[in-house]
Symmetry: C2
Subunit: 431 residues, 2 copies
């Protein structure tokens, strides 16, 4: 084997350690598969002497990660520092400027600066690969960019955050509330000490921005995403959803319609029978609906040392095999910005839970509000009677405009019998 | 765009028509994605004047498909003739010999002659792509060869035949028997007039042989596969399986163990909660268990005009982008034959349904036979009592050697109280 690909790794957290482990255990297999000897030349991390369970003494050490981008014995830099700016961005820019390929697991960096970095990579004929940035070990970027390349996508959606999916699954299985399950997830290492990034939907939104760009050939546009997290999902909503034949999942969805691209991350009622509803715990899944291939589903672990390192090394194998593709499938110079569809124009069904006094005429008042906004009811659930006291009323609407539903919520909140602002959760039937 | 890739299509059945339709509808998009203009130069089919709903007059016509392999205006031949020998094989060999890339949906051809064809392709630096041959629109070959390339696979398995999955799903949902549902499947176009190829497991076995080669880097070895179809699955077994928390699926499974490679296609009880159990109707799914990525699941349509044509064109886009990889991931010259594990050494759990006279001591006799073969029982189901008459007894074993179970079946069949040969179905728990 005459070819060799020399690797520099920046960041030796669990993913970096996973990369080193895979190359140690099956570097020879990867070399046979790629026709190229894969060698780690140099590494960098915050702390040289941390106990990582691997021996890094065979590799050159760089105190400053950016030095990896300047070494003659590095052909490709693996960026595992994280963060959308700062040293990660500087490293990637310097590496590409210096003619090094880049592989990264950094979703924030690609979601925020993907366009300019792709432009730089493409101008130099270099790879900027980021399979590990979206849905961990699932090769979804490759699927959209290559395996499903013959298709236009009506929509791409998925469970993109394992922490949220774990919490929602646990809430459903145990009937416990969000705060309670979050603490447990933190103890188990499934949630960070500061969980905001995950549970507020930001992490899923970073991934969605990238999927949108690959699927629709438009520049990444993170700021166009409507983002809601799962903090306000309560056990009672999960229970009602189950009664109605649904489960609640945090989804990232991107679709292209008359009004442009609609990107949204929010909790969603999905029918129990649909594939995405059956994805439990820390697993991720992405569904791509192509005009010729129809529905395809990709499921696997969305995080963790092994799965993420597996994705990083798939990117390395591609480079070793000489597969250097435009970052987002279509070269940046040929990409076209697309209009952003306003969420007020979103058209879909809604689950709404009201807390109202059980007095004569209350359902008539609510029905009148819905009628005035031309929102029709598919089903209504009112269990038990407590005359004069507060009772929950749950209803599901037919498809309608989001703007109408927002006015419905305001109007119902203003009723004298209403005890708190109605809780609204969007639904997707995926038919 | 200066590059052009000129295509010749042999076979204008539904997949060929799908390929023409995709290029007509979104050829411009595919050209942007691949950086190459994709053009159909010539086509060939049995009947020039068949009504296909597409206009083929813009393309050169070849009465004999093999002429496509000799044309100067063809860079890549798409072989959609089918059949493991005859004109399909001749066309592919001639095309490769003449320096043309080949894309095929022909699973029988690759399963039977993959090694020699790959050798020819690799010697010429040509692509021999066959994504459409396995699991239709699901990009599973790409996933194993590229997206999961960093992994060793403990096993790869899946629902590889949509006809069988449709029949089993219908049998379960309606309680009807095989023959009845088969007729309906034929009327709906989900099963061929001669269904043997599908329902006897041959089609799934062709696909499994290919998956094995890609996953384990060994030459395709179709003859090593243990193949059983679904004709003997009865409604009663499906009902008992459901009662025990399982569904019956026709699976293709390949795994690598101490005894070598074990390839098998047979009906299987799988726990209702496992992802593969939830794949219904004509959908296919493949699960790859990698040592670093863990479990990954790929689901989509396994057949049909659009999905299969989508896979064919993904292969074309790869060629247009210059991605020419060894046919089975590792070059044929570096592949190593692996020993075949005997089915008698298969180690697993079994479902067994007996039809025995309800007389004193029958369970004791059966238990003694199992004990003598060191097969232990996980659960036993005997519903109702009909003294002196035949009753079904269903039992599930713990894991044991297949050779032991075969002796158990023989011994139970020989008992005087036994009314018919015990029905045995293998189980997989996928833990």
């Amino acid at each position: 084997m005459s070819n060799e690909l020399k690797i520099g790794i920046a960041g030796l957290g669990n993913v970096g350690v996973g990369v080193v482990k895979i190359l140690a255990r099956q570097g020879e297999l990867l070399s046979r598969r790629s026709g190229t000897k894969l060698t780690i030349s140099a590494v960098s991390a915050r702390n040289r002497n941390a106990d990582r369970g691997i021996d890094i003494t065979p590799y050159e050490w760089c105190d400053d990660a950016i030095d990896l981008a300047r070494r003659d014995d590095v052909d490709v830099v693996i960026e595992l520092i994280g963060g959308e700016d700062g040293p990660a961005r500087a490293l990637v820019e310097t590496a590409l400027s210096n003619g090094k390929h880049v592989v990264t697991a950094n979703k924030a960096l690609i979601a925020r600066h993907g366009e300019s970095l792709a432009k730089l990579a493409e101008s130099k004929g270099l790879a900027l690969n980021y399979e590990a940035a979206v849905a961990g070990g699932i090769p979804i970027i490759k699927a959209l960019r290559e395996g499903l390349a013959a298709n236009q996508f009506s929509r791409v959606y998925g469970i993109l955050n394992g922490t949220c999916n774990y919490i929602l699954t646990e809430m459903e299985e145990t009937g416990r509330d969000f705060d309670d399950v979050l603490v447990e997830a933190q103890q188990l290492g499934y949630a960070e000490a500061d969980p905001a990034f995950d549970v507020d939907g930001v992490d899923a939104a970073h991934k969605l921005a990238i999927l949108t760009s690959v699927a629709y050939g438009c520049p990444v546009n993170f700021d166009a995403i409507h983002v809601e997290g799962i903090r306000e999902i309560s056990a009672i909503d999960i229970a009602y959803a189950a009664k109605l034949g649904y489960r609640i999942k945090l989804l990232g969805l991107t679709s292209k319609g008359e009004n442009g691209i609609e990107q949204r991350v929010h909790p969603c009622l999905v029918p129990q029978k649909t594939p995405i509803a059956k994805v439990d715990g820390v697993f991720n899944a992405v569904v791509a609906d192509g005009d010729f291939v129809d529905r395809t589903v990709f499921e696997g672990r969305g995080a963790g040392e092994g799965p993420t390192a597996s994705a990083v090394l798939a990117d390395i194998v591609d480079i070793a095999r000489g597969t250097i593709l435009p970052t987002f499938s279509i070269p940046v110079d040929e990409m076209k910005s697309q209009p952003t569809a306003s969420m007020l124009d979103h058209f879909g069904a809604y689950y709404m839970r009201l807390n109202v006094l059980d007095v004569a005429g209350v359902i008539a008042d609510i029905s009148a509000i819905l009628r005035d906004e031309e929102v029709s009811i598919e089903s209504l659930l009112q269990q038990g009677r407590k005359p004069g006291e507060a009772v929950p009323v749950v209803l599901i609407t037919h498809e309608c405009r989001e703007a109408s539903m927002m006015r419905v919520v305001d109007a119902i909140e203003a009723l004298e019998v209403t005890q708190e602002r109605p809780r609204l959760i969007r639904m997707e039937n995926f038919e």
